[in-house]
């Protein structure tokens, strides 16, 4: 098992009602697996929301394999400017 730290922002934070959380996952699981779990936490608000993922402050794709103590940011569509 590995433990990851999750940072929620904007619409994801609102949907999950928390800024941060910790999650235990099986060793070798990918970002895609993580997103499936996250979307199940609030299907109504998260099912169709595009979410990018950053691990340790860099964007990764769904095939990225998570490691113990990774800091994972769930990034809904950004809107700076």
């Amino acid at each position: 098992m590995i433990k990851i730290y999750i940072l929620n922002f904007s619409l994801v934070k609102d949907a999950l009602n928390r800024k941060t959380m910790e999650l235990k996952m099986n060793s070798g699981e990918t970002v895609g697996c993580l997103l499936e779990k996250i979307r199940k936490m609030n299907k109504r608000k998260l099912q169709d929301l595009p979410i990018r993922v950053a691990v340790n402050q860099s964007y990764v794709d769904e095939n990225y394999r998570l490691h113990n103590k990774d800091v994972v940011a769930l990034v809904p569509p950004v809107s700076g400017g």
Partner: protein
């Protein structure tokens, strides 16, 4: 040369710089908070950001813009936190030999910023409601 920053205070006006003697174009852009959003009066926009990554992405974007366009210098400040109506949330300045390079670079830089830099708007309406922005043209 690229200079980028994310700050929580009012963005200072950038004085025109007479020392860029090899650049014929100095282009400055200020993005300001509009008083109307989706037909409703608003008080401010609250900008949330991912501290650390937002700074990194903004600086890398500046470096990419320098590589992709023939410009001499790019300077950008993004404000975060609560920005009242009328005040600037974004300042970008670009110097280049000729105007077209700066105009093209500015358009690309801002469009990429709005796609990749982890900053999010939340609109504060007159009734006190905070609503995350879903404006696709913002």
């Amino acid at each position: 040369m690229v200079k980028t920053d994310i700050i929580k205070n009012i963005i200072p006006i950038l004085p025109s710089d007479d020392t860029h003697t090899s650049n014929g174009s100095e282009l400055q852009f200020y993005g300001r908070v509009r008083g109307i959003e989706n037909g409703q009066t608003i008080l401010a926009i609250d900008y949330e950001y991912y501290k650390g990554m937002a700074e990194k992405e903004l600086h890398e974007l500046g470096e990419s813009t320098m590589k992709n366009f023939s410009i001499s210098k790019l300077d950008c400040i993004h404000r975060v936190g609560k920005v009242p109506v009328g005040e600037a949330s974004l300042r970008v300045a670009i110097w280049s030999k000729h105007r077209q390079e700066a105009l093209d670079a500015m358009t690309w830089f801002i469009s990429q910023l709005k796609k990749n830099v982890p900053i999010w708007k939340s609109t504060i309406f007159k009734n006190g409601a905070h609503v995350p922005s879903t404006c696709k043209q913002c």
